[in-house]
Symmetry: C2
Subunit: 496 residues, 2 copies
Amino acid sequence: MANFQKLTSRQEDYSKWYNELVVKADLAEQSAVRGCMVIKPYGYAIWETIQRELDSRFKQQGVQNAYFPLLIPKSFLSREAEHVEGFAKECAVVTHHRLMNDPNGKGVVVDPNARLEEELIVRPTSETIIWSTYKNWISSYRDLPILCNQWCNVMRWEMRTRLFLRTAEFLWQEGHTAHATREEAEDYARRMLDVYADFAEKIMAIPVIKGVKSANERFAGALNTYCIEAMMQDGKALQAGTSHFLGQNFAKSFDVQFLSKENKYEYVWATSWGVSTRLMGALIMTHSDDNGLVLPPALAPTQVVIVPIFKKQEDLAALMEKLNPLADELRRRNIRVKVDTSDQSSPGFKFANYELKGVPVRLAMGARDLENNTIEVARRDTLTKETMPVEGICGHVERLLADIQYNCYKKALDFRTAHIRTCDSYEEFKTEIQKGGFLLCHWDGTPETEERIKEETKATIRCIPLDPLPGFKEETGKCMVTGKPSPRRVVFAIAY
Amino acid sequence: MANFQKLTSRQEDYSKWYNELVVKADLAEQSAVRGCMVIKPYGYAIWETIQRELDSRFKQQGVQNAYFPLLIPKSFLSREAEHVEGFAKECAVVTHHRLMNDPNGKGVVVDPNARLEEELIVRPTSETIIWSTYKNWISSYRDLPILCNQWCNVMRWEMRTRLFLRTAEFLWQEGHTAHATREEAEDYARRMLDVYADFAEKIMAIPVIKGVKSANERFAGALNTYCIEAMMQDGKALQAGTSHFLGQNFAKSFDVQFLSKENKYEYVWATSWGVSTRLMGALIMTHSDDNGLVLPPALAPTQVVIVPIFKKQEDLAALMEKLNPLADELRRRNIRVKVDTSDQSSPGFKFANYELKGVPVRLAMGARDLENNTIEVARRDTLTKETMPVEGICGHVERLLADIQYNCYKKALDFRTAHIRTCDSYEEFKTEIQKGGFLLCHWDGTPETEERIKEETKATIRCIPLDPLPGFKEETGKCMVTGKPSPRRVVFAIAY
C-alpha cells in the first residue's frame, strides 16, 4: 500500500524529496545487494514504454537487436589502454564457478577447486566482447555497416549509489556500429544523438542541449563523445544520453580489418551509444512536484484514471452505467485507462494516490454529477480541476493529454531558460555556480583549466554545444580563468 | 555472408546437422567466453517475437514486469535446502569488485584488497532474491496476489554446452507469484502451464504434452513441477517450459507471512514459471529440414521475400513497378515483407539463402512472368512452387501463410503420433527406447525404479500426463520393472 505521510518538499531538501518519491511512488527500492536496485512494476512499466519508443526509433535507423555475453575475459579489457583505465576500478569479478558444502559448518562456501583459469568481468559496457565478435563477422566492405544494439544489464561497482541515478547494476541499451569510413561512422554517431534528443524532447518532455564532451569527460576509448544534457529542478545538470565516435581504436585492439572496394585492408570505424535507467531519474527530477510524480502522458502507464464516488453498491452500479461506455470510448482512442471501483479506500485517499503516481488526468463522478450529466476533470500537471458536461468529454480528454504533454515540456524549457546565463568573471563564477543552473562561459580549451575549475568549484563542462542556445549568439571571447582566446562559450554546471 | 557448403543431413548426423544449422542460418554462435553464446540479429529477431507474444499473454493473466538484481548473496541460496543442493554446483561466483594494474607486468589483475565480505552469485534463477524482496511488500491479504515476471539473463555453469539447448548464460523469463491460499497458487501454476502450451502450439507450431514431473525431475524447492514436453525429429524429448507450485517453502525460508482476512498470520503460497532461449532449439529441431530452417510464419522475421529476377537495371525497374505495389499491399495486411533487389548475388544463391533462413513464402518474378502477368510462389515447408496470376496474389499469400502455420503444426503432430507407443515389458523397453520416440509405460511411482531405468537406459520420465494422450485410453496396470500396481501410464523418453 502507498504510504501517505507527506513527501519532504523540494524546497526543504531536494535530495531527500527525490529519494522519498522514488520509493513512495512504487518506482524502485534498494535490494539486499549493496548498490543494486529492485525496479518495481510501476517503475518498470514506465521503463518498458521508454524501451518500446526508443527501440522503434532505432529500427527506423536500420538497427537490429542482438545479444552478447554478460561476462568478459579480463584480458579483453586490457586491450584498449584508455578503456581499461576507465573501467578497471569498478568491476565485479567472477573468479569461481562452483560452491560446495562448508566442511566446517552449515551453508555453502566457494569451492577452491573451481577457480577459473582467467577471471571474468561482469560487463560494465560491451565494446570489447562485441569487437572480438565483429572480427569474425567482417571481412569485406560488403559486410559493412553492422548496426547492432542490445538491451541488457551492466555493472559498475559505484561506491555511492542512488536509485536510478547511480546504481551498481543498471539496465540500458548499447548500440555498437561498424563502418567502412570515418565520415560514415561520425555521421552515424551524430545521427543517434539526434534520435536521443528527439526522444527526450517529444516523449520524455525534457529539453536537452546537444553537445560534445571535452577531453576530460570523454568515454574511455572514444575520440569524441556527443551527449544530451538536461537541467533538473535543483539547477543541476544530468547527462541523459551519449553517443561515441570510437575511431579505429577497438578495431585496432581486436584486429578487425576489412577489404575495401579498392582491394586494400583497412581497420573498421566504430560508434557506440547508450541510454540507461538513469533516464528514469531525469524524468522524475524534471517534472515532479511536492505532491508526487508528474508524468508526461506519452510515458504514463495509466493516462486517465476514472474514479466513481459512491457509498452504496447500487450507487456504483448507476455510475458505472455512465462510466463504462466512457472508458471504452477512451480505450478505442488508444488511451490507457484505469477504472477504480474499489471500496477499500476513500475518494480522497484515491485522489492523493493517483497524484503521487503522476496519472495525468483524473475523471471523477458522484451522485450530483450523475444527476447533472457532468464529470469532474482534474489535470495532474497544473493541479487544476473543472466540472464539465459528459457530452464530448472523450475528445476533450484526448486534447487535454496532448496539452499536458506540451505543457510538461514548456514548463521544463521555461525553467531551463530562466537558469541559463553567461558569466565572464571567474570570481563571479565561483559564487554564481553555487546557485545552480547552467553558466555559459569562455574557456581556453585546455584540460588543465577545466580541472582547476572542477577542483575549485565542483563544476564541470557539461558540453560544448553543437548549436548556439536559444537567446544566445555564437561569439568568441577570452577564457574566464586564463584570459586566453576562446572560440565559443561552453556549458558549465554542477552535475549528477 | 552465408556459407553455402551443404548442410550435413539429419539422417547422416542429427546433432551435427543442428550445430551447423544454428551457425549457418545466422542464429547464434559460440563466444570467446566458454559456454556463452552470441545471439545474432536473425536469431534475436525470432526471440523478440517469442517475447512479444508471451509477454502479451502474461499481461492478459494480470502479470506485471519488474526487475530484480543480477547478483544474489551466497547465504540466500542456502536458505532453502533443496534449492541450494540443486544450484550450488553450477554457480558463477563474484568475489571481488576491482581490478588493478599488474605490479609485475602489463595488463590487469584482481585487486586483493577489493575482496567482497560475502560472495555474490550470478543468478541461476531468482526465487531467493525475489522472496527476500516480497517480504517487504506483503503484510496483509490485501497485498496479495503479487504477479511479477522478469525478462533477464541467468547463468548455470554447465560443463557440456550446445547453442540454445544448454548454455552457461541464457535468456529467459521467470514469473514469481505470491498467493493467500494453496488452491489459488496451484491454480495459477496450472494456468501458466496452459498459457505455455497454447503459445507452443499456436505460435511455435509445436505440439506439447502437458504433465507433471516425477519427484526426481522436480525443480529444486518445488512441491510440484508442471511441464510441457515436445518431441524433436530425432525422437528425443525436449522440456519446453515449466511451471512450479512452490508451496510455502520460500515463504518459510524468507519468513514471508501475511495477516489473513481471519486476522491470523500465515505463510504465503508461491509459484514460479519460466521459458528460455532453449525454445529456439525446440523451434529449430521440430520443423527444420536438410535445406535449412523452416519457420512457422507467426515467428518468421521475414514472412514473405520478393525476388525480382533481372540482368539489367532497366529490367529491374520494370519489375519493381509491379512488385512495389504488391509489397505495399502485403504490408497493409500486416505481413512482414522483404524485397531483395540486390545485384550482388544470383537468384539461385538468393533462393538457397532464403531457404536456409526459413522464410515461409518466396515470390519471384522474371521477364516472362512480367509479360504473362504471373508470379512464382514457393513455400518453404513443402518446398513446392507454382506459377500463378498476379491478380489476387495477396489474398492467396495471406491464406498460404495460415496454411503453412497449420501445416508445420500438423506435420510435427503426425510425427509425434507416429513415434508414441505403449510398452509393457522392460526387456522390450531397453531396445525400443534406443529407437527414439516416447514410450507410454506403467511405473510403480518410486524414485528407485525411475533411477534404475535411467541408469540402465538413459531414459527418464518426461512427465505424468495431465490428460490421456490422443489415441490412448487411461488405464491402470503393473510397473514394467517391478510389477507393482501403477495408476496410469507415464511418458518415458531420452531427453535433451
